[in-house]
Structure formats: C-alpha cells, structure tokens
Symmetry: C2
Subunit: 366 residues, 2 copies
C-alpha cells in the first residue's frame, strides 16, 4: 500500500509541520518491558492509557500493542482508541515512529530514520532494537503513506522540533554525540536535517535536561508552540545542575533568529522539584544485564516541556509538585489561549525514562 | 476504534452479502508454518503473493504477516498490497477472519465466530489455535468496524456461503460434526446462522469434497455466483469416491428452493484429475506431533469451486490439468460474463489443505 521513495522531502517539496498544526491523529505504543517499567508495567500501562484517552478526546489515537498484550490492552482502553498489533522493543513512539512531512497539497509522507536505542553499542539503553527500527515503516504501511528511508543516519524523533516554517531545533549534546553519527560533521548532519525536514535553518542548543538518558533530547528542554514562540525548561536555583544547561540554552536562543529572521519569544517553565526513584519503585523493575538499571535515589529528567500538542489541547505531564505544576499550567494557558490544558500525573512515565511527548507521535493532516 | 456489540446482526438489521456483491477489499494471511507448508513455506508464499497481486488489480488487499516474516513479505509483495503485522497460527483468513455483515445504510460490522482449528481436541489440525481465534477482532479493530462476538459457537467462514438474499448454504458433514458444536441440535445451529448471517433459510448439503480435512467445508464443493445460481464440484466417474458426494448434493439442490422460493440453477464443474502428494513434497514438510501430516500419495481435496470473487474478476485455482482447467474457465465465463476469469496455478495452496477461497476474506462495501 505504500512504497519507499528514493529522493528527499526537500527535493519533493515536503516539510515537517509544527506539532501545533492540525493532526489527522496520534500514534502510541503500549509499554510492557518489565526491565524498564516497574511491576510488570501495569502502572505505566495505566498512565499510557490515561494519555491515550485524553488525546482521543481531541483526535484519533492508535495504540500499537504486541501479540502478548493485545487483548489486555483492549480491555483497558476504551473503544475510541484503535488497537493494532505491532512488535517493538519498548514504547517510545516519538523516537521510533515515522516523522511525517507534508507538501501543502494534501499529501503526507513518512521519514524512517535509523534507530539504535539512543546510542547503539556505545551507550544505548537496551539491546537489541531491531523491532523498534521497523515501527516507522509499519505505521506508514498501515496508513498507506509512502516514506523516505535513511540508510544509515541515526536519529530519534524526540531529538528534533520544528516550527513548520523553515526552522528546526536540536541539541549538540545528542546530535553530535559519538553514539549517533560519529562519521558525519555538524555541517553534514545539518544538511541531512535540511533535506529530510524541509527546513532552512537549524538552531543548536548546547544541552538538554540534566541526566536525560537520551543524551539530552531537545523535546525535554524546549517545545515549539508557534513559529517564533518556545517554552524552555528552567530553574531559578543556580546550584541545581540544570541551571547552567538552561541558562546556556536561554543565552543561545536570545542571540538567535529563526529561518524567517524572527527574534524568539521564550517562555520559561520552572522544572518540578527533584523526582527521585524510591526503593519500592526500583525493586519493581527486573534487573537485566544490558538494560539501563533503575536505581533507588536516581534523579529523573522531569520537565514540563515534554508535553503533547493535540488538536485543541495540550496534554501536560505533572508530578504532584503543586507549585510548579500550577505554574506550568498557567504559562501554557497564556501560550495556548485557544487550547485546553490537560494535566496528567506522569510519574510512572518519567520513571521509564521519558514523558508524554516521548510516547506520542502526531500524524499531520495533509 | 471498534466495540463489541451484544445483540445480533438479525436484530440490528444486518445481513451477510453475497461474495459477488461489491467489496471494499480483501484480507489475507501470509503462510509460514513449516509443518504445513513445504520448503519453509517459500513455494506457498509465492502462490499466496500471486493471488494477492491478482486480487489487488481489482480491489485493495491487506496481507497480515507475523513479526518474523514482515519484512520478507514486504519484499515479495508489490507496494499495492498493504502489509500489516498480525499474529496467527496459520494462514486461512476465510476461516479465522471476521464474517462481515451490512445493513444497507452504509454500515459494515464483523462477526467473530469461535475457532478451534477445524475440530479442536477431537480432530483439529493443529494445536494451539489461540492466535487464529483473535484474528477476526484484530481485523475489525484495524478497520474501525464494530463486531458481534460469539461466546462459544464454533464456525469457520469456509463452512458457510450466502446468496445475500436470505439464503445460506452449509454441509451437514461439517456443521453437525461432533468436533464443532456437539451440544447444539441442528435446529439450534440453524437459528444461530439465521441470527448472525441475517438469513431466513439454510440449505444443508450432506457432504463436501472427499478427504477434505476441514470436515468438508461447503466452500470447496459449491459457490454462490448470484442469487439462485450455484456452481457444483462434480465428477462423471461413478467409481470416484467424490461421485456419491456430488450426486447427493445435486439431488438435494434440485429438490430445494431458496429463501425467496427460487428453483436453483446448478452449473457443474468437473473436479481435476487426482492431486497426490509427491515424495519430494512430503519430505519438504516438517513432521511435528499434533499437526496433520502430509504423506506421500495422499489425495488432496482439489476443486475448482474454491475460487474467490473479486470486484470485476474471479480468481480461480487451476491444477495443471489442461482438460478440466479449461472446462472450469469456460463454465465460469458463462456464469460470470461480466468478470475477468483469472487462473492461478494453485498446487502449492492445495498441498496445505485449502485453496484460494480459503485464504481470502472479502470486506463488503457498506
């Protein structure tokens, strides 16, 4: 139903839209790895289901589920969430799903990057990752969308944001990491982004969020809310290890303009109080050689920037930190006056190493 | 995306259309069991692919493939066949897929019968069959079609045909077999068919095709071509064990009328010369305890009635028997003057125990 296309989105007149542009729907994957998600992944499944149902109030959601969990997932999810069988190695649709591009004439295509579990044999988070690496093609095939497939270029969807208007934003920490594309120069990587995202300018933040196991994905520290408008994960505590990372990002962004020459409007959102893994949480995770351990006391890379923009809504992770949760909601109400801000308690998702943006992937309208 | 409905198609005004009514598409499953399909299922995959491509010239085809074979199947199939991941125990979409019903107002729903591998622990052909039994729900869910799900009633799609106009046809050999629904009377079984197929009359042939391992499915001996019009697998050889079975079917049909009171127009199609498993073919199949063996010299239940009616075409199995192959094509040209008759050499399919009708399932237009 769909075919691989050998040119590039740029050559064919396609661009990656901003997440705030209209969606046809949203894709997710059901979590089940017991060496990443505590207590047989049951608490995570509940949280993923809550995210799916919240999004499904605003746009169609497809949940991809393994053969083993198919019927169980269908029992938990309401009939408005479509459940399809799909194998994967974990549940990070943002990073393994296709990046969709559009041509302004009603056509939508996918980009199938190569995936190596956030670092392959250098510092990847698990092994193997072959099922994850097939998810993008399977999604495109199910939807009948043609796709571009990169032969060797490693990239996760969470390591890029676009404004849909010529600009992409990434972090040097991730895209220049030796575990991704060590044989390519920064210039070559930028050219690949220009070709496959249809952008003219790439903004390079130095870092992301402290201890982010993805090598500091951009989607955990900033989020494009509209062309020229970003939220930035921030802390006022100059002793917090996050401070220099957020400060460097702010300084960089204040000195930059986007592809259209706009100065950038930055809205700070303070990070929550530290989220530390409890002993009970740690003990609920199977300890397996080759998978990142979940150790008691470890700080999680919790950030409000890791939200999902749905049609008419923003699905926001919150952490039970009343002061900062409330401040995040208030900022987003100002930034998105026409969208409903839906808060979801997301501790069970961040315990697995990501958040709401990481577990979702929008499919734009053509 | 779809939900289970607790009433019945009859109660909701739905009926199973005739196969000759317009289709939205066709569903198939990729073969791979090495204990049923010789030489790692490679020859069968080639034949299934040929069937899929032939149908895809006339209506959309979705091929359901296991995780293991997904990429291999996508390599073999052209981009016009949609490939989706789905687990199953073998590849008989007719028998494990949903039976679709329509209400004449544009709505299509599925019927999810229970499946026990053609006989369960009594005389089933393999064990287990749990993945097969979930295929119908997965197909409906992928398409967003609501479905009726029978709690315990065993039925395979190949054991029923309908004329879309009030009549179903089945065999006593299969539907009354002790391995299906031994606790139900013939009257109770007939009532279930009336409720779930939306028919008023059930025609009961005594038998199907000699040595048919499905306990003589109706779809191997007759095919409804239009209301009141059937083809019947026939032999002129009174010494062939098929003769009394076909003769009894003919006598029965000549003495019956359908739900609308029509006399039935019967077109005989002579069966091919015996198809016997060769030594080489037998040796290509893994011998596994609990799966029906494929023994050298065994006669296969080869029949031309096991064709698939697509939009504008009939996809017909042929066996390299020039005389009978040609006669089958000629008869079908007369019966279907407006459809293209497409012959496919189907020895590799019958070696697995069925034929083109058994490996396909139409999804009607609403």
């Amino acid at each position: 139903m769909s075919k691989k296309i050998d040119s590039t989105p740029r050559a064919d007149g396609y661009r990656m839209p901003g997440e705030f542009e209209p969606h046809a729907g949203c894709w997710m994957i059901w979590p089940e790895r017991t060496d990443n998600w505590r207590n047989g992944a049951k608490p995570a499944q509940k949280a993923f289901a809550e995210v799916a149902e919240a999004i499904a109030e605003h746009e169609p959601v497809t949940m991809c589920v393994s053969e083993r969990q198919y019927m169980a997932a269908k029992e938990v999810l309401s009939p408005r969430v479509r459940v399809v069988e799909m194998s994967s190695d974990d549940s990070w649709m943002r990073d393994v799903g296709p990046t969709f591009v559009v041509n302004g004439k009603g056509d939508v295509r996918g980009v199938d990057w190569r995936f190596n579990a956030w670092g392959g044999l250098v510092d990847g988070l698990y092994f193997p990752w072959d099922k994850d690496d097939k998810v993008a093609v399977k999604v495109c095939e199910m939807e009948g969308k043609d796709y571009y497939s990169l032969e060797s270029f490693i990239l996760e969807g969470g390591s890029i944001h676009t404004d849909g208007d010529g600009t992409a934003i990434v972090t040097e920490a991730c895209l220049l990491h030796e575990s991704r594309n060590p044989d390519l120069t920064k210039h070559e990587i930028e050219n690949t982004l220009r070709d496959y995202l249809g952008v003219e300018k790439v903004l390079w933040l130095p870092n992301g969020i402290y201890l982010d196991e993805t090598n500091e994905h951009v989607d955990n520290i900033v989020h494009y809310c509209a062309p020229g408008v970003l939220v930035l994960a921030w802390t006022d505590d100059e002793n917090d290890p996050q401070y220099p990372l957020s400060k460097a990002a702010l300084d960089y962004l204040e000195g930059e303009t986007d592809a259209r020459g706009r100065k950038l409007e930055i809205h700070k959102i303070h990070i929550p109080d530290e989220v530390l893994i409890t002993k009970e949480e740690s003990q609920g995770v199977d300890s397996v050689d080759g998978t990142l351990p979940r150790v008691e006391g470890d700080r999680q890379a919790a950030s409000y920037a890791n939200f999902y923009i749905a049609n008419g809504a923003v699905i926001l992770p919150v952490f039970g930190d009343d002061v900062h949760d409330r401040a995040a909601v208030e900022t987003l109400r100002k930034v998105f006056p026409d969208r409903k801000i839906v808060s979801i308690y997301a501790r069970e998702i961040i315990l697995g190493g990501g958040n709401i943006h990481c577990i979702t992937q929008q499919q734009p309208l053509g």
